[in-house]
Amino acid sequence: MHSLEKIIQIRDLEVTFPIREGDLIAIASVSLEIYKGETLGLVGESGCGKSTLGFSILNAVPSPGRITKGKILFHNENLLDKSESELRKIRGKKISMIFQDPMTSLNPLMRIDRHIIETIKKHERGTNTHTARERAAFLLNKLGIIKERLFDFPHQLSGGMRQRVMIGIGLALNAELLIADEPTTSLDVIVEAQFLDQLKQLKEEFGLTLILITHNMGIVAQISDRIAVMYGGKIMEVSEAESLFKRPLHPYTEGLLNSIPNIKLYDDNLESMPGFPPDLLNPPKGCRFSPRCRYAFDRCFEESPHPYHYEDRLVSCYKYANDKS
């Protein structure tokens, strides 16, 4: 379980992508806190802004996107005020990120030990290659990659092994916070389960804080302490994992949970959600989920709800409003 120390505080964040058709607001006034030692699951469908939020934490939103508003506090220091060279000391060393497709994240011309050695030497000037290699070997050994495979090229490894190398790079500098963006999407179920077990174990061992970005509710249920649900560039609900699955508060969370098949139930009736995700160039005027929401009332179409506190959870929905207007 997590402590009360906040490692990251995102305050009123807005990320804009100026594109030919206009300004696309990928993230709109998002606030989120991440506690030391916890696993936070960040879930949502494609295009909801979950990956962009991950990049924002590193202050590395891909161009043409820009952070147009808000703050990202890392140990109470605003990352958005830092210079590129200051950021470079944080990225990889304090906060690292791993991505969905390990084949495109690894250099195909570089043996796997090199990837880790280079990372160590870049950040810790003066480390000699020999020590760095020892550390790489130790780390990969922990991840179940034997010494003999250290000099393989990425294409010689299986998908699961490549993804473990990625984690190795992520952990090479003892990062405090690991952001994993869909780390298992390219893996098969059995390998995925192995990988998640390993991730859990490493988290304990290294005292990591983990942000797991995924669209898979099953993974999130198995690994997270807390869950944040995103939709159309906004956070709909933040809750402890168990209570979220037991009783989803936001209508979108409810719809999402009703539409995923559960292998353990023998006759589950799946419900589909009508409509489409919002067009972020022309988002709905009120709550972004309102056109698809079965509980929507007048106010929902008029103004966008901010997060309300409800039973130690946060819900952006007027159903739980305590400021009746």
Partner: protein
């Protein structure tokens, strides 16, 4: 349901030769093969949804392509309503092509970006010489409406890039059904769709199945989806079928240790449900040199002495439930 097979596979094999380097080309002994499909037999009954489930590299897509005659088998027979497809000429095959269609995973790759929806759907009718120009257009518009693309007149003139992912997959489904087929191979049809769109697409496919009396071969890696729509499922591992049975039996009482592992590896969307079975170590082995005997034996928690020596045959354990494992021999 009347048990009458629409598709029968009899000991079908498909080997792909691995490219050799320059020097090895002069050595015929260095020839290597990937046994993508290695002796697969099963029937698909008329009117059912038959699920073919396996991890990547198990040969499930190759099996689908073999049935559609997109690739030819190395050995074995594929019968479509008792006719052996492997012996037909191109012209004879064309008559059957009309009756079997396919839906692929990626709606971005399966639609020509320079072809409007109308053209993409009219083309199959033209190729098979069905109807007049006017009739074809009407048929296409009707089909668009059937798959929920409304108003059809507007969608008719749209290019793929003007449609959303979900709409595109509907166009692909419409194109597969425009020739009024009897049998459709759906190869991971919802894997690219968003979670909230998946159920809609599955429901659409099931409604169309009833409406047009279709039989589906549903290829997927996702057991949870298979469970939602299939009547019977077959589990594939490294080119071989290791278990076949009704959906209920396989899910309630999985027999092959691999099937058990596959079922328990699926992350359950419930934080309180914990995994019971241990996850087998390792990954799918190299298909060029697959393990001897039962192909799962190196990872199997309950392997016995004979497992690495002999290949277990598919054996009927309870009526309709077949398994390839010496534990049940």
């Amino acid at each position: 349901m009347v048990l009458e097979p629409i598709v029968e596979l009899q000991n079908v094999k498909r080997y792909f030769e691995v490219e050799r380097d320059f020097i090895q080309k002069f050595n015929p002994k260095a020839r290597k093969f990937v046994k993508a499909v290695d002796g697969v037999s099963f029937n698909i009954e008329k009117g059912e949804v038959f699920g073919l489930v396996g991890e990547s590299g198990s040969g499930k897509t190759t099996t689908g392509k073999l049935i559609l005659d997109v690739i030819k088998p190395t050995a074995g027979k594929i019968l479509f309503e008792k006719t052996n497809l492997t012996q037909l000429s191109k012209r004879e095959m064309k008559l059957f092509r009309r009756r079997m269609q396919v839906i692929f995973q990626d709606p971005y790759a399966s639609l020509n970006p320079r072809m409007k929806t109308g053209k993409a759907l009219t083309q199959p009718l033209e190729i098979h010489g069905i109807g007049t120009v006017k009739e074809r257009k009407q048929r296409v518009l009707d089909m668009l409406e059937h798959v929920g693309l409304t108003p059809p007149q507007t969608v008719y003139t749209r290019y793929p890039h003007q449609l959303s992912g979900g709409q595109r997959q509907r166009v692909v489904i419409a194109r597969a059904l425009i020739l009024n087929p009897d049998f459709v191979v759906a190869d991971e049809p919802i894997a690219m769709a968003d979670v909230s769109m998946r159920v809609l697409l599955l429901d659409l496919m099931m409604n169309l199945k009833r409406e047009f009396n279709l039989t589906y071969l549903f290829i997927t890696h996702d057991l949870a989806t298979a469970k939602y729509i299939c009547n019977r499922i077959a589990i594939m591992y490294l080119g071989k079928i290791i278990e076949i049975g009704s959906l209920k039996e396989v899910f309630r009482d999985p027999l092959q240790p691999y099937t058990k592992a596959l079922l328990s590896a699926i992350p359950i969307p419930d934080p309180e449900a914990k995994r019971k079975e241990p996850i087998p170590k390792g990954e799918i082995p190299n298909p060029i040199n697959p393990p001897s005997g039962c192909r799962f034996h190196p990872r199997c928690p309950s392997r016995m002495q004979r497992c690495d020596k002999e290949v277990p045959p598919l054996n009927e354990v309870t009526p309709g439930h077949f398994v390839a494992c010496y534990l049940y021999y």
